[in-house]
Symmetry: C2
Subunit: 99 residues, 2 copies
DNA sequence: TTTGTTTTGAATGATTATGTCAAAAATACA
DNA sequence: TGTATTTTTGACATAATCATTCAAAACAAA
């Protein structure tokens, strides 16, 4: 259950690439990428899509990783975090069924 | 499966109170409360707590409603919304077990 | 109409997101 | 060691988003 940051750091290190190379592909400063990999910054959607392209992995997998990180972050301090996630699931299912 | 806004509007109308009264208790402009009830604005945590107090309902129930609304909002446009919620659940469970 | 309530939108202020840059710290390795 | 390379950090800038206020418009009831 890796975070987005852990995932892309692992991929980058497997290929023995410096931050610079990946950051250039994303068209951002390497400092930002460093922070993304360590979870100090959030990537945005566009960056996630580009990362999937760069590493040739399934875009939806990386989006799930990114979105779930954001969700966890949003409720991390709440006692009712799990319950909120479950209710959110029901709401999404309901919205989908009626749309 | 009511949203926070629908919930508090229902409660307010049952008691036949104007926005003004509830807004005064929350110490906000009634325009904001109107928007919160209609889902055009997000309440903040403090407001949710006060709303539970005002309507004498369980605080955690209203917090769940509020948090789940926020979660749904955050992923509403994504194809992988459900998957992201499920992965987020696993991450929360994992974090809890290791803490 | 008159009165009270609710909704809307423009304007403003606050907060968050995003990025750059340069220096410090860590790492690799001749 | 010393030097080059890479990574991390933090100060700063700017843009985008969000929250709030206010007044006016729209609505509802008497």
């Amino acid at each position: 259950m890796l975070s987005l940051g852990e995932t892309i750091r692992k991929l980058r290190e497997e290929k023995e690439l410096p931050l610079r190379t990946v950051a250039a592909f994303l068209d951002i400063d390497q400092a930002i990428l460093s922070k993304i990999e360590r979870g100090q910054r959030n990537a945005n959607r566009e960056q996630v899509v580009k990362l999937a392209e760069f590493f040739k992995i399934k875009e939806s997998d990386l989006l799930v990783s990114w979105l779930s990180d954001k969700l966890v972050y949003e409720i991390a301090d709440e006692d009712v975090a799990l319950k909120a996630l479950q209710v959110a699931e029901e709401k999404v299912k309901y919205n989908k069924s009626k749309k």
